[in-house]
Amino acid sequence: MGTLIARRLLALVPLLVLVSFFVFILIALVPGDASVTLAGGENATPERIAEVREELHLDESIFQQYGRWLGGAVQGDLGDSLFARTAVTSDIAERLPITLGLAGAALFVGLLVGVPLGVLSAMRPAGAIDKLSRFGTTLGISIPGYWLAIILVVLFAVDLRLLPPSGYVPFFENPLRWLEHIALPAIALGTWSAASLSRQLRAALIDVLDTNYVRSAWAKGGSTRLIVVKHALKNAAIPVVTILALQTGYLIGSTVIVEEIFTIPGMGPYFLRAVVSFDVPVIQGVVLIFVLAALILSTLADITYGFLNPKVRVS
């Protein structure tokens, strides 16, 4: 198991180099002379343009720039915002926990609803529960999260006045108020997770329930619960865990719009403001952090995979 983890971590290194390079060369997408655009376009003063050119070392080759940026990033320095003049690293450190908290809550909703739904559907394919759940999950993966978020605001905040329509209270300040503010966004994000997770789990479980070893378990005199919970679920979880990690990576990305809608001061609004104003250091920093989060998740999934699948673990 130890070697498995070590191998996975080692395999991350070349991937990280490539990924960070892709993050950095996002700057190459900026149209026209980057220093002019970043300095504010046509209205930019020559002094400002020179300043930007100097600050981002735009005169150097792209590889030199990348080396400089990566060197800083490894030491925890992602540069300064071009406009707010604040350090990107400390800005992110402030906002990332908020976003991770939201993503975690959304994942919780996804698991809480998705797993039981998937299991119940798979136990009786085309039964009443399955039909209902397939209808629900088909809707769930088709409805845009931001629209669902708005509908939830209309229903629960505007009409029923049960929950606040926007805003945020830190968890450590008041957990209950935090929950109040995070509930709607988490449901809006978690619905998609629940729907897709339950569909994946259903498909995997149905396949596993058709295997010879499940037939063996029936032949032993196993109960339905034993068959489903012990024999089938662990094997069905193997493909699902990988997909779940991937989806959670996406989920973290989807927080961007939902945070914007609920005015949650996480990574989302910070990122979007930077995108609209060509604040390249901020964009690079945020994208890098999102990719890192997704990579960490997929590595965790690989390790979990080892726990679930003895073939990987023992060999």
Binding site: L15, L18, V19, F22, L26, L29, V30, P31, M123, R124, P125, A126, T138, L139, I141, S142, I143, P144, Y146, W147, I150, I151, V154, V158, L209, D210, N212, Y213, V214, R215, S216, A217, W218, A219, K220, G221, G222, T224, L226, K230, K234, N235, Y250, G253, S254, V256, E260, F271, L272, V275, V276, I283, V287, F290, A294, S298, N309, P310, K311, V314
Partner: protein, 682 residues
């Protein structure tokens, strides 16, 4: 036409031929027909066509000018002149939705098609050529896949500058790596197929192999992948539009309409939020529905039964109907019983009596009988061989005794199975469960897949015991060790902690046997337990079975197609053909004086019977499909002794010439049983 369900599990060549002929009858038409079978798909197509009309004609079909403001009629609720109402500037919402359709349709088509076109050569080259190039390309693809798609799309679209074109470019970039992976995976899958290797070996050019051999097989998965990506593209565009990065106001897109309503009408006119969101959701739903249907239709038409040479009927049905079964309600773990009459138990009751058992499968093409009026019995301590070619119904019969056939499609149509006088078909789920594995056990054919890969051998052994007996852990562990010893597995203590994949096939089958015997059952059903093993291992396994049978005074039903094994191990034998028993009696009787031409054929086909140098005898023809059982004697098309009466008369199982009167019962199903002089073994 649809694929004929093939329960016979015969030579793969025949099966491939079936597919080939099926393909030649206008595959496109069949695909369309299959697609249109579901109401949801038809609705989805209808909706997409509606949106397509809106996208193509735009302002021409819009009832109002989509950008015309009318402050006096702002925020109007839906009415005749404004079916979806007006927005905060008095613009007609329906007209704006119609114009906005063009953006969504354009983006979804453009991005997905372009991404597919870019990904296709990358995936093909990477998968087919492999090596360093593949390594490099896939590293890049992996790195791109690591990005959360929405974040990457926002960053790219934002940096390129606002506008529909840039959003399209951003979404395309995000989509390419996923498609490339898909193409590469499908390429790798077909690359190793024999027909590609054959092409290579006769010196076909690489480019030709790629375009004529690989591409046609990569096409379907790519089409399915692309069709499922349309919805994602719509969602992404609408999201970016919502964020103000795509279509710029005042021109309408679904996403920016939603944003406008959210910013200006959330508290005052929240109904305005419903229309743009619902249209986006419906569009995605329609695309996904179509994509799913396409996937089902394509995968069903491409099912080729090549890999599993020794698939048993139970599995053949399974594979064939997997996708149909999934649509249906399946009661797992207990076969359904729909018999009307209950045959009486024989008196005196043997250990097991199968009385007039008939089994049916419900298929898409109707009801098929696969086992027809089968009766036999097993006495205590007796070993009965159940013999026949693949497709004769022997495995299904034994699974029915255990009530392990899934319902649907399987159904016990008639008959009864009495185990120690108890009618197994009258038992409840829990009553049956208490018998299974405890008094009545089964060992299956394929040891490689019959053990759960996720649990240790020890766990699976202990479980078998603890399901039926209340014993503590230590006792269970000791018994597990003892059983491994009994089935002659070396170093049992160590094996208990190992996983199935660490054991060889022979070892696994011994473990299966140990599990089956864990609770000291009275009857063991062994379904071709040696077929999947090497010849030398087979012999060891048979020796083990024989010695255990004597040691434990076990009754055994030994299901096999190998008469050599029957001669070796069985006391009595029942020969099955096309779902019926055609001959049964003691091994000595049946082998030396067979009364049924089919038995004679089976005996002649034994390698042990033929003389060295002679060509091995083969019964001409094939086992008929249950749907196509011939009238009269079911064996008559393959029988060398056929007379006219065989073709028309119903033949019943009767006591053979030296049957009831003789020392041991010997039943035969043949019109000419008295008059033929058939050759036995030796």
């Amino acid at each position: 036409m649809s694929l004929r369900p093939d329960t016979t599990g015969l030579a793969p060549v025949a099966a491939v031929e079936t597919v080939a002929t099926a393909r030649s009858t206008s595959p496109r038409l069949r695909l369309v027909r299959r697609l249109l079978r579901k109401r949801g798909t038809v609705l989805a197509i209808a909706f997409l066509m509606l949106v397509a009309i809106a996208a193509i004609f735009g302002t021409a079909v819009a009832p109002h000018d989509p950008n015309a403001q009318d402050i006096l009629n702002s925020n109007d609720v839906p009415s005749w002149s404004h079916p979806f109402g007006t927005d905060d500037l008095g613009r007609d919402i329906l007209s704006r939705l119609i114009v906005g359709a063009r953006i969504s349709v354009r983006i979804s088509l453009q991005t997905v098609l372009l991404a597919g076109l870019i990904a296709l050569p990358i995936g093909l080259v990477s998968g087919y050529i492999g090596g360093r190039l593949d390594n490099l390309l896939m590293r890049i693809v992996d790195a791109m896949l690591a990005f959360p798609p929405l974040v990457l799309a926002i960053a790219v679209a934002g940096l390129l500058g606002k506008g529909v074109g840039n959003v399209a470019l951003a979404i395309t970039i995000v989509m390419v790596p996923g498609f490339a992976r898909l193409v590469r995976a499908s390429t790798l899958a077909v690359k190793e197929e024999t027909f590609v290797e054959a092409s290579r070996s006769i010196g076909t050019r690489t480019r030709r192999i790629l375009s004529h051999r690989i591409l046609p097989n990569v096409r379907s998965p790519l089409i399915v992948g692309m069709s499922l990506a349309f919805g994602a593209a719509i969602l992404a565009e609408a999201g970016l539009s919502f964020l103000g990065l795509s279509q710029q106001p005042p021109n309408a897109s679904w996403g920016n309409m939603l944003r406008r309503a959210y910013d200006h009408s959330l508290y005052t006119h929240p109904w305005q939020l419903w229309f743009p969101g619902a249209v986006i959701a419906l569009m995605v739903l329609a695309y996904n529905t179509l994509g799913d249907a396409l996937r089902d239709a394509l995968s069903a038409s491409q099912w080729v039964p090549t890999r599993d040479h020794h698939r048993k009927p139970w599995q053949a049905w399974n594979v064939l109907q997997a996708w149909q079964q999934r649509q249906r309600k399946t009661r797992r773990g207990l076969t359904a019983v729909t018999r009307i009459e209950v045959p009486a138990a024989p008196d005196p009751a043997p250990l097991l009596a199968v009385e007039h058992l008939s089994l049916e499968f419900d298929t898409e093409q109707g009801r098929v009988r696969v086992v027809d009026d089968v009766s036999f019995s097993v006495a205590s301590g007796e070993v009965l061989g159940l013999v026949g070619e693949s497709g004769s119904g022997k495995t299904v019969t034994s699974l029915a005794i255990m009530r392990l056939l899934g319902s649907p499609p399987a159904r016990i149509a008639e008959g009864a199975v009495y185990f120690e006088g108890r009618d197994l078909f009258a038992l409840s789920f829990d009553e049956m469960r208490a018998i299974r594995g405890a008094e009545l056990s089964m060992v299956f054919q394929d040891p490689m897949t019959s053990l759960n890969p996720a649990y240790t051998i020890g766990d699976q052994l202990r479980e078998a015991l603890r399901l039926h007996e209340h014993v503590d852990r230590a006792t269970a562990r000791a018994r597990a060790r003892e059983m491994l010893d009994l089935v002659q597995i070396p170093a049992p203590e160590q094996r208990l902690h190992e996983y199935p994949h660490q054991l060889s096939g022979g070892m696994r089958q011994r473990v299966m046997l140990a599990i089956a015997l864990m609770c000291r059952p009275k009857l063991l059903i062994a379904d071709e337990p040696t077929t999947a093993l090497d010849v030398t291992i087979q012999a060891q396994m048979l020796d083990l079975l024989r010695s255990l049978q004597r040691e434990l005074d076990l009754s055994v039903i030994f299901v096999t197609h190998d008469l050599g094994v029957v001669a070796d191990i069985c006391d009595r034998v029942a020969v099955m053909y096309s779902g019926q028993i055609v001959e049964q009696g003691t091994v000595g009787e049946v082998f030396t004086r067979p009364q049924q031409p089919y038995t004679e054929g089976l005996l002649a086909a034994m390698p042990q019977t033929g003389r060295a140098g002679d060509a091995l005898y083969v019964i001409p023809g094939q086992v008929p499909h249950p749907r196509a059982w011939p009238g009269g004697c079911r064996f008559h098309p393959r029988c060398a002794y056929v007379i006219d009466a065989c073709r028309s008369e119903r033949v019943s199982l009767t006591a053979g010439p030296n049957g009831a009167a003789g020392p041991t019962p010997h039943d035969v199903r043949c019109l000419r049983s008295g008059e033929l002089d058939l050759r036995g073994s030796q």
